[in-house]
Symmetry: C2
Subunit: 446 residues, 2 copies
């Protein structure tokens, strides 16, 4: 595999949209719908405000819109901002084979690019598919060693996808694309030590920005090492104690990792998703009045006890990692959007009351993607449910309608009419002559 960088570049440059199977193109649009919704949902987060305040004054000519914001800036800074907003609620997509969130670093650069230069929707969709594919395959080739070592691969691998996607749009030559991949590799970074702080969302943003820069430099013939992935001191050797680089090029152009992309239905720790899902189903099926709940008994996989066993919580952030809160909002609200993980909701009397009545037991017989729930009402009636696959996982993917509902739940910065127009533009992206029109729809009115 001493030519993997070169072969990857070759494939990316040769690929045409008509060579991509229709189901993959459809999945790309689903990923973009999910992505734009997440970017809108995170666009007012403090981390975005701070980044704009700190770096906006140093930004270049303001050609590019930022998703969900009225401020404009240069495309590299816009890449950073889009990356932060789309990941800051941990609500973006995940490829379960390697736990990377591949869309954020790639699409964040692409939509920023679309602000600075005219780009056809079909070209952007293709560049996105190729960037996503590169991230996922490099991720597969180095998983789990790279992630286990402490790298936040969404950033440390995402940078390759951003460079490749922007490089594709720029029309790089083969050697330029090889250099772009090299300049991406040598900017690969992002430590899991940052989890729990704003710096986590900085990772996809910075990787989008760094990949963008890599492509711009390569376009002007800034040279880099040509075996950046496979070389003796390249990305794989340095940043992954074990790897199988054949996975990067095996059936390239035939197999597509977009087919195994997953969309979170709930903006919280993935291990409590089955609990939320089950409790929503119980509530609907039995028309449970949360006022009358006497007890909730969860049987969960032991991993859930390890990660999300805190009942006595006070903040929205804590709520994202509490199986007790998960059960409570499922039963009280019948949904779990951004509004269910605010400090207010966590402290709402009825939510607190139900949460206090939840008990949780670890049970190795329960699959990690499942749960057993029993609800007992004040009148003694009991309702139970057994779930083995949670909504949003590959066995039970979100429908297009559910993706749209997730989008609308996050798009309060826009009017509903505008949000629906934007969703429609994402579905029709292959037909768009210029993606800047789509990006403009994501900018709130004054």
């Amino acid at each position: 595999m001493n030519e993997v960088t070169s072969r990857l570049a070759e494939y990316v440059l040769a690929a045409r949209l008509e060579d991509i199977p229709p189901d993959v193109r459809k999945e790309a649009r689903r990923a973009l719908v999910n992505y734009v919704g997440c970017a809108l949902g995170g666009s007012r987060h403090e981390a975005v405000d701070i980044t704009l305040a700190a770096l906006g004054p140093l930004g270049g000519p303001a050609t590019s819109a930022v998703l969900g914001r009225r401020e404009r800036t240069d495309p590299m800074l816009a890449s950073l901002l889009n990356g932060i907003s789309s990941h800051v609620h941990d609500f973006d997509d995940t490829t379960p084979r390697n736990y990377i969130h591949p869309t954020s670093p790639v699409a964040s650069a692409l939509f920023a690019y679309a602000g600075s230069r005219r780009v056809r929707g079909a070209d952007l969709e293709l560049a996105f598919i190729l960037g996503f594919e590169a991230v996922s395959r490099i991720g597969n080739a180095t998983y789990p060693a790279h992630y286990d070592a402490g790298w936040h691969s969404t950033g440390s691998i995402g940078v390759f996808g951003a460079a490749i996607a922007i490089g594709k749009l720029l029309g790089l030559s083969h050697r330029q694309m090889v250099w772009a991949i090299g300049l991406a590799a040598t900017q690969s970074c992002g430590l899991r030590e940052m989890f729990g702080s704003m710096a986590k969302s900085f990772h996809p943003g910075r990787s989008a920005q760094s990949g963008y820069m890599a492509a711009l430099l390569a376009q002007q013939n800034f040279t880099a090492g040509v075996q950046a992935i496979e070389g003796p001191r390249g990305f794989a050797a340095v940043q992954s104690s074990a790897y199988d680089l054949a996975r990067i090029t095996h059936r390239l152009g035939s197999d597509f990792e977009l087919r195994v992309n997953a969309y979170k239905p709930f903006p919280c720790g993935i291990v409590v998703h089955p609990t939320i899902d089950a409790c929503i189903q119980l509530r609907e099926r039995h028309r449970i009045d949360p006022q009358h709940i006497a007890a909730v008994r969860l049987r969960v996989a032991p991993l859930v006890k390890d990660l999300c066993d805190k009942r006595d919580i006070g903040t929205g952030l804590e709520g994202k990692f509490s199986a007790y809160h998960a059960a409570a909002i499922g039963l009280v609200r019948g949904k779990a959007g951004l509004g269910e993980f605010t400090d207010e909701t966590v402290n709402e009397p009825l939510v607190r009351q139900v949460r206090s009545r939840v008990e949780s037991t670890g049970d190795p017989a329960v699959p990690e993607d499942g749960v057993r729930v029993e609800v007992e009402l004040a009148d003694g009636r009991r309702f139970g449910i057994e779930l083995d696959h949670s909504l949003g996982n590959l066995e039970r993917p979100l429908s297009d309608t559910q993706l749209e509902a997730k989008f609308l739940d996050q798009s309060s910065v826009l009017t509903e009419a505008r949000a629906r127009e934007l969703i429609s533009a994402c579905w029709r992206i292959e037909e768009l002559d210029d993606v800047s029109g789509l990006v403009a729809l994501a900018v709130p009115d004054a």
Copy 2:
């Protein structure tokens, strides 16, 4: 050592220039003289031209001068450009304990900062000393494992120094400085696989820029992990298989790594420095006319045979790693500045003739920093020299006068009068009310 990040931040924030011993402050100024000369010398390199062409149009308000250039740009892009120019000829300083070039990432950010905000020379000197110290100590704590793994530590560790230096000037609080170090750690990158390409010089540049960004974000309270260096998934654990973090804080404020900083006399592979040095001495001592040289016999450390054994060369870059070329220019030119490593010089008839008459033998008895040279003239006379320590190493540091000569040799973008004025401003930096005046001297006239 679970508070090393916090303690480092604490020290940096408390440090005052009057607490720094005079010899260390003097050495800081020597490092800055050496740095500014190198930045001038590299300022017209293609890598700088390309970066300006690629990224200049996306740069922000042009507050900052770039050393050696007439273009102005924003301070973060100026940091990148200064970092590239000052390292691109591999002529900047080195701390022999860890082979880092610490000044480039730190000073590149500082002189860019001085373009955008008023900063007193004494404050810049202090910030430089602290940034240099942080880089060197983190380097010592993780050497050799971090470097051996394939990291170009000038970039991957330089980023800490840039963040700390800029953070010191911005007046960060303790928690902000901890975040700045965290945001630096999570941008630590730079692969040795890039050696031999322009991307090598990109490393100190990008680390200067990333460190600058880290400090700006932290100033606005962008949060990061607070154990970025020592945490279980922090910099040391992830990027170094072995480390001794006590070296970061041991005798902090008492011992200074600037005392063991070394300045290269020649812009080429360090292992051929003894050969150049010895040949210059032979030429001067015996008034050798290179036309009459019949044979040159080198006895070198085996390492030199491993790394620099190519006689048949055609480019300046190859000349930097050829013991044969090293001997030839020492004997023909009596010096080895940037002009001795051009394609023209490598192909000059007399240089070629002498180079063809050089023989080289590996000898384990010769120290790595030494050489044995015998020159035989056409008339049969023979002159020999044994060198055990080469000029520029800690045992034989460059004098202030030699540093100035090195500066002048690299400052062809300025008039000699202007270059001398700039050197003088560097020596007097502690007295300067505003460093922007010094930076302005480094900008060529139209």
